[in-house]
């Protein structure tokens, strides 16, 4: 058996294509050329002085741009090009599952980033001779950057399944600006005391880094799973496992943070809940009987669980309500200290309402649009834009009434909480959360009927199986 037979077919294909692609070759050669020039420049200096730390900063800066910006950006067309070229259909017909397709694409890009990382190591050894090196911290930092790169690549690969070029473009621009800032900050890290974070000497630092790795791992998994769920055939139910894993993940991650800080536990829960909720609220509601089979086998309990765990935005609303209940449980476990601060309380409840609000708008005005995820994100961005405009307007005119007038838009209510009255914002937040959960549930009779029909068809399949036995 060939060595390549041990690898995923997708990885073999992507590596074959990726290593020949202009994108990687240019990036690789340009980075090497830049690093050689930097080394020559620093070596020819009259006195090394503090040049070791500056050299570290420069090396890390270039590395960050390569792996945090350029490599993830290469993933933004990973799935869309396959969908557009109709090759995704051909792959789905093979033994490759949707997850293996997306995972293979991600591993290929991360392997290329690893190659770039490996080529940086000789320069780091040379940098050692310039003095002032915090060996462990700098290597830890590089690993963290590599890990963040893998996460961002997963995010772009997963997001590349979204059909809207405009949305992908917006995400690229916003993400790109953010990453560039991070890269330049990274370049200056070695000169500051921030590098101490990466020496693992303090328990707070260890918690912070572990949280970072945990969140990165979660975002990587969720992003890839999102991409897989877009390209997967209907019979391949990716939603239920994702929803199921979500509950214990939120609970364990939050509980792990309680020893550090109660509010950090709530923050961790919200970091995990928001992407879980967004994916649950933007799913295609079409069900096939095969998906219902495992639930129908469990009779009544299965049917009840199905109302939360079946794919689709309607069950997603109930899932978000369950996540809200879970958050309250976590809050109770902190001795109600996690949401003790009114600002935090208002923010959390408003975030839940703002997750549901775009779905309400979608159901009322854009229900014919097939691209639920794109529409949802567009509405969410638009509501945040409106909130910012109203906030600026109220600040410049000193008219608080403007904000209260539009407090039914959740992001506006968040500004009301920050700037005006926490208590009222909390009440408004709860009312809007309940209202925005009820509206889509009430307006989705057809979806619930479709779920019942699918369950009925699944029962028929079960009965046939039993009679055949």
């Amino acid at each position: 058996m060939d060595f390549s037979d041990r690898l995923s077919p997708m990885l073999v294909k992507e590596l074959r294509q990726g290593m020949r692609g202009v994108g990687f070759v240019i990036l690789f050669i340009a980075l090497q050329a830049l690093l050689v020039l930097v080394m020559i420049g620093f070596s020819s200096a009259d006195s090394y002085g503090n040049s070791g730390e500056s050299l570290s900063g420069t090396l890390i800066g270039f590395f960050s741009i390569a792996v945090l910006l350029i490599q993830p950006l290469r993933g933004i067309t990973a799935l869309s090009s396959e969908i557009k070229g109709k090759t995704i259909d051909l792959m789905v017909l093979t033994k490759l599952s949707a997850w293996r397709i997306v995972f293979g694409k991600w591993v290929s890009l991360v392997s290329q980033s690893a190659l770039i990382f490996a080529t940086l190591l000789p320069y780091m050894i040379m940098r050692y001779f310039f003095g002032g090196m915090q060996l462990f911290s700098e290597i830890s930092l590089l690993f963290c950057i590599f890990f963040a790169s893998a996460t961002l690549t997963a995010a772009t690969v997963g997001f590349s399944a979204v059909s809207s070029i405009v949305l992908r473009g917006i995400v690229c621009v916003i993400g790109g600006i953010f990453i560039l800032q991070f890269s330049f900050a990274g370049a200056m890290l070695s000169g500051s005391g921030m590098l101490d974070v990466f020496d693992f000497s303090d328990s707070d630092h260890i918690y912070a880094l572990l949280s970072f790795f945990g969140v990165c791992g979660f975002i990587t998994w969720l992003s890839l799973d999102f991409g897989a769920s877009v390209i997967a055939p209907l019979a391949e139910n990716r939603s239920t496992p994702r929803k199921l894993i979500g509950f214990p993940l939120v609970l364990v991650a939050s509980l792990a943070m309680i020893p550090v800080d109660d509010e950090a536990a709530i923050l961790m829960a919200m970091i995990l809940i928001v992407p879980l909720a967004v994916t649950a609220l933007t799913e295609n509601p079409h069900l096939v009987p095969q998906v219902c089979l495992p639930f129908v086998r469990k009779f009544g309990v299965g049917n009840i669980c199905g109302r939360v765990l079946y794919p689709g935005w309607a069950t997603g609303v109930l899932y978000v309500v369950c996540l809200f209940v879970l958050l309250q449980v976590i809050n109770a476990m902190t001795g109600f200290e996690g949401l003790d601060d009114d600002d935090a309380h208002a923010t959390v409840i408003t975030i839940f309402a703002s997750l549901l609000f775009p779905l309400v708008i979608y159901r009322f005005f854009f229900r014919k649009s097939v691209n639920i995820f794109g529409m949802y994100l567009a509405i969410m961005m638009f509501t945040w834009l409106i909130a910012i405009i109203l906030y600026v307007l109220s600040e410049t005119t000193s008219q608080d009434g403007i904000l209260w007038l539009f407090c039914w838009i959740p992001p506006v209510n968040m500004f009301c909480g920050f700037e005006l009255d926490d208590d009222i914002a909390i009440v408004v937040g709860y009312i809007s959360f309940v209202a925005y959960a009820l509206i889509p549930l009430v307006s989705s009779k057809i979806v619930w009927k479709h779920i019942r029909d699918s369950e009925f068809a699944a029962k028929e399949i079960l009965d046939k199986e039993k009679s055949a036995e």
Binding site: M1, D2, D5, P9, M10, V12, K13, R16, Q17, R20, G21, S81, K84, G85, K86, T87, D89, L90, M91, V92, L93, T94, K95, L96, P233, L234, A235, H286, V288, P289, Q290, K368, I461
Partner: protein, 334 residues
């Protein structure tokens, strides 16, 4: 058990009924032509058969396996050749086939052998190192056919495989399909080129507006079981070819079917030779310099148009002569 079984298949896209209560069966080892105008529902039906789309209602089975409940089994049984598929950048023909062979679960020497067999069958051996995105349309279709045969499927679903091919590539593809049919594969093939389908297919399935309008073999269709009576003639004249069209407009029992280089194709509403003689006499009398006048067999296009015409109006073919030039129109009015 039929290779393909479709019962009451319906597929809605919002308010649009792309497929409307479609039912048919294709026996094992037969070649079935799937015919219809653009937007008739052919591709939607074929995608559902290939487990790439889902039905709003109805049951679709491939060799007894339901496409919804057993997609994995169905996929191992079918070879799917879409009407349009993108190629990969930076990938040679052999790497392209190698990737799909890996994806289908072939390993080591078995994979290499399978790829070689397919390349030989599709005549791709001399193209193995060519970039797959730099192939001609004909070569691309052969590559696509090769890919769909990698796992030796029982059923082949081919959506417009001959679209955009030059005559030579079309003949090559037709020969490959003929070999596959002789090997006993069940083939469902859609095409606009009805004459080719007629030669290849055991049965033809005509679809319009998402509904089946005819299902039968090519010969019965040509004989005109459902068609209007009449016979078809090729008429060639000296001078302007449009003279035939203009003349046909004013002539009873004659219908202009299509324009040709030196005249046109007409239908005489009778099968009697006497009637044809009368028409010819009248042509000459009316000043047409007829150089050729011979009877043609009713082809599949005629049959298809007849069927569509019967459905749309209930009064026969909807073919209309081209608009008259201004002078002829004046003459007709006079």
């Amino acid at each position: 058990m039929p290779a393909i079984s479709v019962k009451n298949l319906t597929r809605h896209f919002g308010a649009l009924k792309a497929v409307d209560d479609l039912s048919f069966e294709v026996p094992r080892g037969s070649v079935c032509g799937f015919v219809g105008a653009n937007g008739a529902g052919k591709t939607t039906t074929m995608r559902i058969l290939a487990s790439l789309d889902y039905a709003t209602s109805g049951i679709v089975k491939i060799c007894g396996h339901n496409v919804i409940n057993a997609p994995a089994e169905v996929r191992s049984l079918i070879g799917w050749m879409p009407d349009d598929f993108g190629n990969y950048d930076h990938m040679t023909v052999i790497e392209y086939l190698d990737f799909y062979a890996r994806a289908l679960g072939y390993k080591g020497k078995e994979r290499q052998m399978r790829v070689q067999e397919v390349m030989e069958f599709a005549d791709l051996s001399n193209l193995s190192d060519r970039m797959s995105n730099k192939l001609s349309k004909g070569m691309t279709q052969r590559l696509c056919l090769g890919r769909s045969l990698l796992h030796d499927p029982e059923v082949l679903i081919m959506d417009e495989p001959a679209a955009g091919l030059d005559p030579k590539s079309r003949v090559e593809l037709k020969n490959l399909i003929r070999i596959l049919a002789e090997e006993g594969k069940t083939i469902l093939i859609s095409s606009h080129i009805l004459s080719e389908l007629g030669e290849m297919c055991d049965s033809l399935l005509f679809i319009d507006g998402g509904k089946i309008v005819h299902h039968g073999d090519a010969e019965s269709l040509r004989q005109g079981l459902d068609a209007k009576a009449g016979s078809y003639y090729d008429v060639q004249v000296l001078g302007d070819a449009m003279e035939v069209a203009n003349w046909a407009v004013t002539s009873p029992y004659v219908e202009f079917i299509e324009e040709r280089k030196r005249g046109g194709r007409i239908r005489i509403e009778s099968n009697e030779a006497e009637q044809a003689a009368i028409v010819l006499q009248r042509m000459i009398k009316d000043g047409l310099s007829v150089t050729e006048f011979h009877k043609e067999q009713r082809n599949l296009e005629d049959a298809f148009i007849d069927i569509l015409g019967q459905i749309e109006g209930g009064n026969g073919p909807q073919t209309t002569p081209p608009p008259l030039p201004p002078q002829a129109a004046v003459a007709t009015a006079e």
